[in-house]
């Protein structure tokens, strides 16, 4: 039992108030004024900031490494692998080794790299823990697709479809159409088509990795015949408010990494075209992942600060890396907010890290464990 006293408690939905937060085991027990429980460990947090743990909506943490080779993030034997499940690739040692919790990141979507047209299914994990099973928040949370040049590079070099965007979209449309027309007996025999059933039903969102406005346009065109698909654009560097307004369907967005410049995509983003989207619901999610694996422990905060510099408020930045990704990934009943009953995933900062670089992370709880105090799990990497 832990009581965090008198901090500025940010709920992850825009509300900030001075309050106590009580944790019991791995859950948040109560938030309120002058909470009293016998035998509770008291943590004074006056003038400190208490945030929900940050969530990186898309990452390769736990599925890349443990060397420059040996990755498990890309099944590049076939450009269409919707039946791949990231849970068979996730190595908790790899995730723990990243120590992203030292920057307040307590959960992450872990997804196959988007170098296949249909790359497979992602899951959500805590960033610290003693086994993949203990760390898993949810499995099969989304289907990963991609229409970027990353796909063309892999297969074009082999003179195998897709070499062009035409090839990418032909494969994407064919698979979705086949799945939508498949009989029950077909599905039983074809795991690829079977994997697309929840996507077509709208119960599993389709995350489509895209970069420029032309790619986004092509996605909207190709998926127009599939109105039941819950479409999420990821990366989405060239997105604009106007494009979303005229999309002809509901659209959710995960903004890609803005810190790595080898990805030419970072030059596509026009912040002034994107910022109005944060006034709409659902607001975009900020992530630190693009077509690369370089994201480190600082990267998610840096991406939030990239948007902060360009006009978002502190609380909007916070929402974009807490409650917004939790809702998108369907895990808002577990993580992403400070509310009684949710997992005890939270961090205490000396100052507001969205405002000043002087802000230090003082404590971070992942599933109720005070990880900096316990020293964390010793990764075998």
């Amino acid at each position: 039992m832990v009581i965090i006293r008198n901090g500025y408690v940010h709920d992850g939905h825009g509300d900030v108030r001075v309050a106590d937060v009580a944790l019991r085991g791995n859950t948040i027990l109560a938030i309120g004024e002058r909470l009293a429980y016998p035998d509770a460990q008291e943590i004074e947090a006056r003038e400190r900031h208490v945030f929900p743990g940050f969530i990186n909506a898309l990452s390769y943490w736990g599925i890349f490494g443990p060397a420059w080779t040996g990755h498990d993030h890309s099944e590049l034997s076939d450009p269409v692998t919707p039946h791949m499940d990231v849970r068979y690739a996730f190595d908790h040692d790899g995730m723990n080794f990243q120590r992203v919790y030292t920057y307040g990141v307590t959960a992450a979507g872990v997804a196959p790299q988007p170098f296949n047209v249909l790359a497979g299914q992602m899951a959500v994990y805590k960033t610290h823990g003693r086994s993949p099973q203990k760390m898993q928040v949810a499995g099969n949370t989304a289907m990963i697709a991609s229409v970027t040049s990353g796909v063309k590079k892999v297969y074009g070099a082999r003179t195998v479809t897709p070499m062009t965007r035409m090839g990418i979209f032909a494969l994407l449309i064919q698979e979705l159409t086949k799945a939508s027309q498949a009989k029950a007996s077909d599905l039983a025999e074809n795991p690829k088509l079977n994997a697309l059933v929840p996507v077509l039903a709208g119960s599993m969102p389709l995350f489509v990795n895209c970069a420029g406005a032309a790619e986004i346009d092509a996605v909207l065109l190709a998926l127009a015949p599939f109105p039941t698909i819950r479409l999420v654009l990821t990366g989405a560097y060239g997105i604009s408010e106007a494009q979303v307004r005229h999309a002809g369907r509901d659209l959710e967005i995960v903004l890609g990494d803005q810190t790595e410049a080898f990805s030419q995509a970072v030059r596509l983003t026009k912040a002034e075209e994107v910022l109005p989207l944060f006034a709409k619901m659902p607001a975009p999610v900020i992530s630190c992942t693009g077509d690369n694996t370089t994201a480190g422990k600082e990267s998610l905060l840096w991406n939030a600060l990239w948007w902060r510099k360009r006009g978002l408020s502190s609380e909007q930045c916070l929402q974009a890396i807490t409650s917004a990704p939790a809702r998108l990934l369907g895990v808002e009943d577990r993580i992403g907010s400070l509310k009684p009953g949710l997992d005890a995933d939270l961090a205490i900062w000396s100052q507001n890290p969205f405002d000043t670089y002087e802000a230090e992370l003082l404590k971070v709880f992942v599933s109720g464990e005070d990880v900096l105090a316990t020293g964390g799990y010793r990764s075998c990497w």
Partner: protein, 384 residues
């Protein structure tokens, strides 16, 4: 005359003025201080409420050398040692990289060959704006690039060529430096006799600059590879800079004791961790390196990291214990000193190049601090 008026001026000389003016004549700073006199005809930039600092110096990058897609001109991976080649010929001055640099307040970048080879070639210091590469270059060479560890091992070891190991890497460096010694001994013995002169070799000539301590080795190394760099520098009595320096927190004593270490160029951070050389990315070490008197700079490794993250990383240095103005030194004067270009750039002082960055907000402290104007050689090269 150009006057940047009423700004909060961080000079990188140990003095920060709460309110001061910077006077610029043509391409040089002529004065900085409070209540300076200047002619009525002077052009005024009102910097009231703005933070005025020296143009940022990025001590290690590859700007203009990596194009779109897979095109690149900075890794000549045809031989593990290519000391005769020069990064300056790889730099595309029209690259977007330089626009991003100007937007971030970076006015000078130390552009190095990549790390595919053990000996990569000569390193040049270039401004972010100018008419041509000749116009933009401040000094060439400023160093000879080398790389230890996984990069050259990966390139050559996978082809069953040396170096397949770190042992091979160290020997390649020693063999090249010894070959240069032999070359210059023969040259000395020839004593001007053309018949006895060894044939001209650009690579050995460049290694000679290192042996004469005219330029340092600029060595890509992390963790215990840093100690290999120091050992080779001691053996040949040559200068070195340690670049990337991940894991420096394990080696404070050894680094501080070296007589050949010009400085440490730390970064980038914000990278995924892997066991081995990419396993400790300890930006917190720059505070202690600086405290112990070592010249310490922070790099973007651009375009690995975007240009504006030079300030973000200085901010992370602040977060992990570096005093704010010491962190700003790491992206200005310290970087200039390490590159040997501090006679031209890196601080706001009379006589230096008029390279200035003007920020709204305090860089490396306020997360929203934004460069609003970048001046190179006395001319506004970027304005927001």
């Amino acid at each position: 005359m150009l006057v940047i008026k009423n700004g909060r001026v961080f000079t990188a000389t140990g003095i920060t003025y709460a309110v001061a003016d910077v006077l610029i004549e043509n391409d040089k700073i002529v004065a900085v201080g409070e209540n300076l006199m200047y002619p009525d005809s002077a052009e005024i930039i009102d910097a009231t409420g703005r933070f005025v600092m020296p143009g940022i110096v990025d001590a290690h990058s590859h700007l203009g050398g990596f194009g779109a897609g897979d095109e690149q001109d900075l890794n000549e991976m045809t031989n593990h040692a290519t000391p005769g080649i020069e990064a300056i010929y790889a730099i595309d001055t029209k690259s977007n990289d330089f626009i991003a640099a100007l937007e971030a307040g970076i006015t000078t970048s130390v552009v190095a060959p990549g790390s595919g080879n053990v000996i990569g070639g000569l390193v040049a210091a270039v401004k972010s704006a100018g008419r041509s590469i000749q116009d933009m270059c401040i000094k060439n060479p400023v160093a000879l690039k080398m790389a230890l560890g996984g990069n050259p091992k990966g390139v050559y070891g996978s082809k069953n060529q040396m170096p397949m190991t770190r042992m091979g890497i160290a020997q390649i460096i020693r063999d090249n430096l010894n070959a240069a010694k032999v070359y210059f001994n023969k040259r000395a013995q020839a004593d001007g006799d053309a018949e006895k002169q060894p044939p001209y070799d650009a690579g050995l000539e460049n290694l000679g600059r290192v042996l004469r301590r005219e330029i340092p080795l600029k060595v890509h190394c992390e963790q215990f590879d840093m100690m290999t760099t120091l050992a080779i520098a001691a053996e040949f009595d040559i200068l070195c800079t340690i670049d990337h320096a991940w894991g420096a927190s394990d080696y404070y004593d050894e680094l501080a004791a070296s007589k050949n270490l010009v400085g440490i160029v730390f970064g980038p951070i914000g990278v995924g961790l892997l066991p081995g050389e990419c396993g400790k990315v300890d930006i917190e070490s720059v505070a202690e390196l600086d405290r112990r008197g070592m010249l310490t700079a922070i790099m973007t490794d651009g375009p690995i990291m975007t240009a504006e993250l030079i300030v973000g990383q200085a901010g992370e240095a602040v977060r992990t214990g570096t005093p704010h103005e010491r962190a700003l030194n790491m992206i200005t004067i310290n970087a200039a000193k390490i590159a040997g270009i501090d006679d031209r750039v890196g601080s706001i002082e009379a006589g230096k190049d008029a390279d200035i960055a003007i920020f709204k907000g305090v860089p490396a402290l306020d997360t929203t601090a934004t460069c609003v104007r970048t001046i190179v050689n006395g001319r506004t090269a970027f304005q927001r």
